[in-house]
């Protein structure tokens, strides 16, 4: 089953990594958003690092999965996948793996900027690595959750995904650290998985944190498990409705 899962992931890498909506919402959009925020603001360069890496992971890892199922529905390649001898979890798992790797590989860009240009220094490598790996996984799984409505319109799912992702970045410690937020903001920040990414990144590069690293790791795992369980339940219910489209 691992091989079948990888076969699905490989197919996704080949076909969907370079699809328009994936490139636009996974790379260009967060890049411009970040530039718009960072340029002309008088803040120490190092304080931009967690937001930069966190936001990149958030958008790239959750960019491919919402596109895959609507595309497969529209191009009529889905039914052949459904008649193949593999459980639905392996099929969706392959989508998650390709999304996870997309997030992981592309995080190299903000990492290079952070450590090469902005002068960040790693103080706790385990926290840094855990934040990157767990966040890529968590956001890939969040992407599958977005892809559950049975539609053959990739743009509809992309809109839905942005409707959720955009507000989240404003209270997740991307632009303003959690420790600098007002009380209500801090409460709100706890419901966003991205908060735990940025806090864990701060811990990794020796900045002040409000939430301990172990809490962050636990929270990211808990979000991942929840995203997976909910999206599998919804996919099980909705998958055959796609065939009627």
């Amino acid at each position: 089953m691992m091989r079948k899962c990888w076969a699905i992931a490989k197919k996704n890498i080949r076909i969907y990594y370079l699809k328009g909506p994936v490139l636009i919402f996974g790379i260009l959009f967060p890049a411009f958003l970040f530039l718009a925020f960072a340029i002309g603001r008088n803040v120490p360069a190092g304080s931009l690092v967690p937001g930069l890496i966190g936001m990149a992971l958030f958008f790239t890892a959750s960019a491919t999965t919402p596109a895959i199922l609507p595309f497969e529905t529209r191009t009529r390649t889905l039914e052949r996948l459904l008649v193949a001898p593999l459980p639905l979890s392996v099929l969706i798992g392959g989508d998650v793996v390709s999304a996870f790797l997309y997030g992981l590989f592309l995080s190299a860009i903000p990492l290079a900027i952070s450590f090469g240009i902005l002068g960040a220094v790693v103080t706790r490598p385990v926290a840094l690595i855990a934040s990157i790996v767990l966040s890529a996984l968590c956001f890939a799984l969040m992407g599958t959750l977005f892809s559950t409505p049975p539609t053959d319109e990739p743009s509809a799912i992309m809109t839905l995904a942005n409707l959720v992702r955009l507000p989240l970045i404003f209270f997740s410690g991307v632009f303003v650290p959690v420790s600098a937020m007002p009380q209500w903001g801090q409460w709100l920040s706890r419901i966003s998985p991205l908060t735990y990414t940025t806090e864990l990144l701060r811990a990794g590069i020796g900045q002040d944190v409000q939430i301990g690293p172990w809490w962050c790791i636990t929270a990211l795992i808990a979000f991942s498990v929840a995203f997976w369980s909910i999206s599998m339940a919804l996919h099980r219910r909705n998958m055959c409705r796609r065939l009627a489209l």
Binding site: R76, T77, E79, L82, A84, P85, P87, C240
Partner: protein, 314 residues
């Protein structure tokens, strides 16, 4: 075990609409079973339940002894499926599509390469194996889909109208391959709405209408049903009494559509001669005459008037 596919009381309900209603049949080893019915009869719904894509509302289906609901992966491992509308990945070449299909069935790399070469050659796609599927004609795409469905040498094959609106060459290739596979012991479930195709290709034909199985027999035994539904369509230079034509030998009934008369008969050839005689005798000219061949709708007319058959499809 001689039944490769065993179907018992299979039922699918969409809200209040019964798309497939208590359908039972079996497909034997080495047999091509035609699943014949007009659009909306429930053919695709049936195939999707048998291939584990849709959950049945009721009933049971075994493929090579594996229950499609309780052991879907086991049942799917040994079946090849061509869905009604399916495409290869347009961005990938034929070779890449074949490799992906092989990997989904857990085949080792060497086996995938050997089978791909064999199948792509056979379906006349070998020269174009490194072209992306986007550049293929419709027939080539469908041949590639069939090749992909055969990569793991399935012993049971499900095909949903695989030749609908294809060119002659592709159609011939697909028919040839289906015959050959059943000759080597594969069981084939072949969906079509084309009587002639069912007639020439299938060992037995199941006829489905409004979700119900209305007949299941060899083409030979169904021939009287098919023959009964043949017709001659004729028009004359001046109006002619329909009843007069109905009285001709061999005419079962007559329908009038505009200036054309639809004469149903088991022997259209002989009827044409009689019509020529009639025209001469009555001093009218035949303006047009043709034999449209049996249509499904007409088969159903004769099937439902034949109550002895519609009672027991088995």
């Amino acid at each position: 075990m001689s039944a490769a596919i065993q179907v018992d009381g299979l039922t699918k309900r969409y809200n209040s609409h019964l798309a497939v209603d208590d359908v039972s049949f079996e497909v034997r080893v080495g047999e091509v079973l035609g699943f014949l019915g007009p659009n909306g009869a429930g053919k695709t719904t049936t195939q999707r339940m048998l291939t584990g894509v849709l959950k049945p509302t009721g009933g049971r289906a075994l493929v090579l002894g594996r229950d499609i609901v309780s052991d879907p992966v086991g049942a799917k491992e040994r079946m090849g499926v061509v869905p009604e509308v399916a495409n290869p990945y347009m961005e990938m070449t034929a070779s890449q599509n074949m490799a992906f299909a092989g990997e989904l069935y857990g085949l080792p790399g060497a086996r995938i390469r050997a089978r791909s070469q064999e199948l792509l050659r056979e379906f006349n796609l070998w020269e174009r194996r490194d072209d992306i599927a986007k550049r293929y004609s419709k027939g080539m795409k469908q041949r590639l889909i069939l090749a992909m469905s055969l990569i793991h040498e399935p012993r049971v094959l499900f095909l949903d109208e695989p030749t609908a609106s294809l060119d002659v060459e592709s159609r011939r290739m697909i028919h040839g391959r289906v015959r050959e596979l059943s000759g080597r012991g594969a069981a084939v479930f072949y969906t079509t709405h084309n009587i002639e195709e069912a007639n020439v290709l299938c060992d037995r034909v199941a006829i489905i209408r409004d979700g119900k199985l209305v007949a299941l027999d060899t083409p030979e035994a169904l021939k009287s049903t098919f023959a009964m539904s043949q017709s001659v369509v004729v028009s004359f230079s001046r109006p002619v009494e329909a009843a007069e034509l109905g009285a001709l030998d061999g005419v079962t009934h007559v329908e009038k559509h505009g200036d054309k008369l639809h004469l149903f008969t088991a022997a259209p050839g002989a009827l044409i001669e009689r019509l020529a005689g009639y025209a001469q005798q009555e001093h009218v000219e035949i303006v047009s005459i043709n034999t449209p061949g049996p249509s499904l709708e007409e088969v159903f007319v004769s099937l439902s008037s034949d109550t002895s058959r519609s009672g027991g499809p088995r």
